[in-house]
Assembly symmetry: C2
Homo-oligomer: 427 residues x 2
């Protein structure tokens, strides 16, 4: 697609916008109580079901036309690239060529009128730990002499997360209660978490997936990634440190996970592919099942990620959100393809709509740390906010917004929209 | 229901059978390519959809009649006790009173003709670690001086498992590949697991469940348990010991979990309730959110659990299966109600059809250990099989069958059927 290609929808041509014609992310929206698939374009949402109904998807595979009329992306995710590409081409034509305007314009919904839902029925949700900076920073807080465990550089460490409590951007986040125990306390207590944190992550939605017992080879792994979203893996650090041994995080994370509503396809991110993480001298090479030359060359994705925070006091004073984290997806130790190939390497079946998250995306510098645990060094070094407040962890009323985008000279900027949640206290 | 109450189906009156009139477990079966809800009775399966179609469920709540005609138990699970009880009463009447025989007999399917499927669409699967004997035995292998971690007696430890790879009894289990590293090896290798194990567990299917952000109080927790099944949490111990830190088991478990097809309701198990685990002097009392007097008195369930193993050589020689584990569900440190209340205590929503497993059920003696890791002390003390073989871990061709039943003087025996799987090697 030519860089210069523009949409007849003016707002899609804003060079600072998230949703140009080159993006076309998919989501699910509700309007007048009915859910439908939508495509973001500028400040509008194109209703895919309506497109299919009036014949605008004619000529595409019947399965594509059928999937376009459902109310979750799972059907489309299952179809794979052979169907994704023609649909994208069709949408590019419909939204790019002004001759389609009379037919398509009535099928556009203004974004504020579209109530965004989670984009898919998420069967299983897996959370990885793919940032070596995050793993090292967190490890250092608990094991100063030995921050990184011996398996880290060999195994893309991950764990199963809770699918039921994944919510769409904007849903309120209730402060969870849980057991915690300070070193000085003789017994644990149960009550509202005193160490609530965000985690800046990216989610990968699975496309066709694999059958149980049949691993996915690394060289085909990307065919099983439908697209990406932003993800906030809310964490209760006090609960986590008391409960997590020996089986890992459980209630410290399962109370809520927020995702952004728009799924940006790998196709849209093609101009922003980057080499895989360059392992420093002395680090082992990945085992063969995680090694693929083209993944080494272009397995990374250059996405700038940013977290902003507003406190209740800041909102009352009209103070704009303050940036607390800024990182980049390409800084992960493992590529998306490696995460997928590893996950399926034991024969575990990945299904359309399953969600894999990267784990906290942190970079090498402190301002690139993706959570408060790292930024404040477990509360030891509080963060100053504009209105004279400080934060060790999140307070009631704090709102956390993640944004992400890809940009580079010679390419149209691709944005992810936002992933937002505000902490509500317990009554 | 009177102890003496009998069914007009002879096989249901066998005192050693699993499925008397007093049991009536629910499942999903396929016959002639169509799935339907079924109820086990003796050596037959009653087709619930067929019952509804010819009016045998008339007078029950419309929601019950509707749920009875679906192809998974989720709908029925969602309805709660107010609907479960009248349905059970109706089925007891239909299968107990010979006057219904002419109508009901044609709706019965012989068990061998019913292809059993997983009983529900399992949204999320959680695995606990509720046996203190198991936790201690396993802990001792890794930390001889300090087998039990400090949180164990306070927190019902659990983690999220993989829902996609849960299979029904009888499905073949492919030996998974994975990374492992012996202490003597400089680097990990990737290949078929050399330490495949079973884990004897019981699963709890969730009924109505809770809304996100609204915990379930312990005194109502059992209202959210629809029923129980048997569960084998297949585990690759070599993969597990290399991958599990710091986030817990992942690929060591996600390749397959087998469940028995029949869900035995709490109602059927009523005569077999037992006091909660009696904590030895010195153990802390559970925190208030996990404490309920009636749960203390009757929160346990007396279910005998047994694992039998047959090797390929044993089958060839016609040697019967050998018993390798025998335990009892009532030996768990935490009750089912405590597991449910803990899980939802942070506001995490449990949905109808979600599955909670107990973790390996081990007892205080060696023959009550629920997995080979414990029985063979991580392979140090191999298990002798009848045909001159020994087992450290499972070999290709080994078949593992879990059975469970409740019996006591003055009550009709209630059985769980079987949970079976055979290990297939990788080609």
């Amino acid at each position: 697609m030519a860089l210069s290609m523009r949409s007849w929808i003016d707002s899609a041509n804003d060079p600072a916008g998230d949703f140009p014609l080159q993006n076309l992310p998919y989501g699910v929206f509700r309007r007048d109580r009915r859910a439908a698939l939508g495509v973001a374009i500028g400040d509008r949402v194109l209703d895919l079901r309506a497109c299919a109904r009036i014949g605008l998807l004619e000529g595409l595979a019947p399965a594509t036309v059928e999937a376009s009329q459902t109310d979750s992306l799972n059907g489309l995710m299952a179809l794979g690239r052979a169907c994704w590409r023609p649909l994208r081409e069709r949408l590019t034509g419909l939204l790019g060529d002004p001759e389609h305007r009379p037919m398509v314009d009535p099928l556009l919904v203004a974004m504020p009128d579209a109530d965004m839902l989670p984009p898919a029925l998420i069967g299983d949700y897996t959370d990885f730990y793919a940032s070596i900076y995050h793993a090292t920073n967190v490890g250092r807080l608990f094991r100063p002499d030995n921050p990184l465990l011996p398996n880290y550089k060999w195994v893309p460490i991950g764990y199963h997360g809770r699918a039921s409590s994944i919510v769409a951007s904007g849903a309120p986040i209730r402060r969870p209660s849980g057991q915690s125990k300070d070193a000085a306390e003789a017994a644990p207590r149960f009550g509202p978490s005193r160490a609530l944190d965000y985690e800046l992550e990216v989610g990968l939605f699975i496309g066709p997936g694999n059958r149980l017992g049949e691993p996915i080879p690394i060289h085909t792994a990307e065919e099983h990634i439908f697209g990406l979203c932003l993800l906030n893996d809310w964490s209760a650090r006090d609960v986590q440190s008391w409960e997590y041994q020996p089986l890992g995080p459980f209630l410290a994370k399962s109370f809520a996970t927020t995702i952004s509503p728009w799924v940006v396809t790998l196709e849209a991110l093609r101009p922003f592919r980057s080499p895989a993480f360059v392992r420093p001298e002395g680090d082992p090479q990945p085992l063969p099942y995680l090694t693929d030359p083209s993944d080494q060359q272009r397995g990374g994705i250059d996405v700038t990620l940013e977290v902003r925070l507003t406190s209740r006091r800041m909102r009352a004073a009209g103070t704009p959100p303050v940036r607390v984290s800024r990182g980049n997806l390409r800084d992960l130790y493992w590529t998306p393809a490696q995460l997928v190939a590893h996950h399926a390497s034991n024969g575990c079946n990945l299904r359309p709509g399953d969600l894999l998250a990267t784990g906290t995306v942190s970079g090498p510098t402190r301002d690139a740390a993706g959570c408060l645990l790292e930024i404040t060094r477990r509360g030891a070094d509080p963060l100053a906010l504009p209105e004279g407040e400080v934060r060790r962890f999140l307070e009631d009323g704090d709102e956390v917004t993640i944004r992400g985008w890809s940009e580079r000279e010679g390419a149209v900027r691709i944005g992810f929209g936002e992933c937002r949640g505000r902490i509500e206290g317990l009554e």
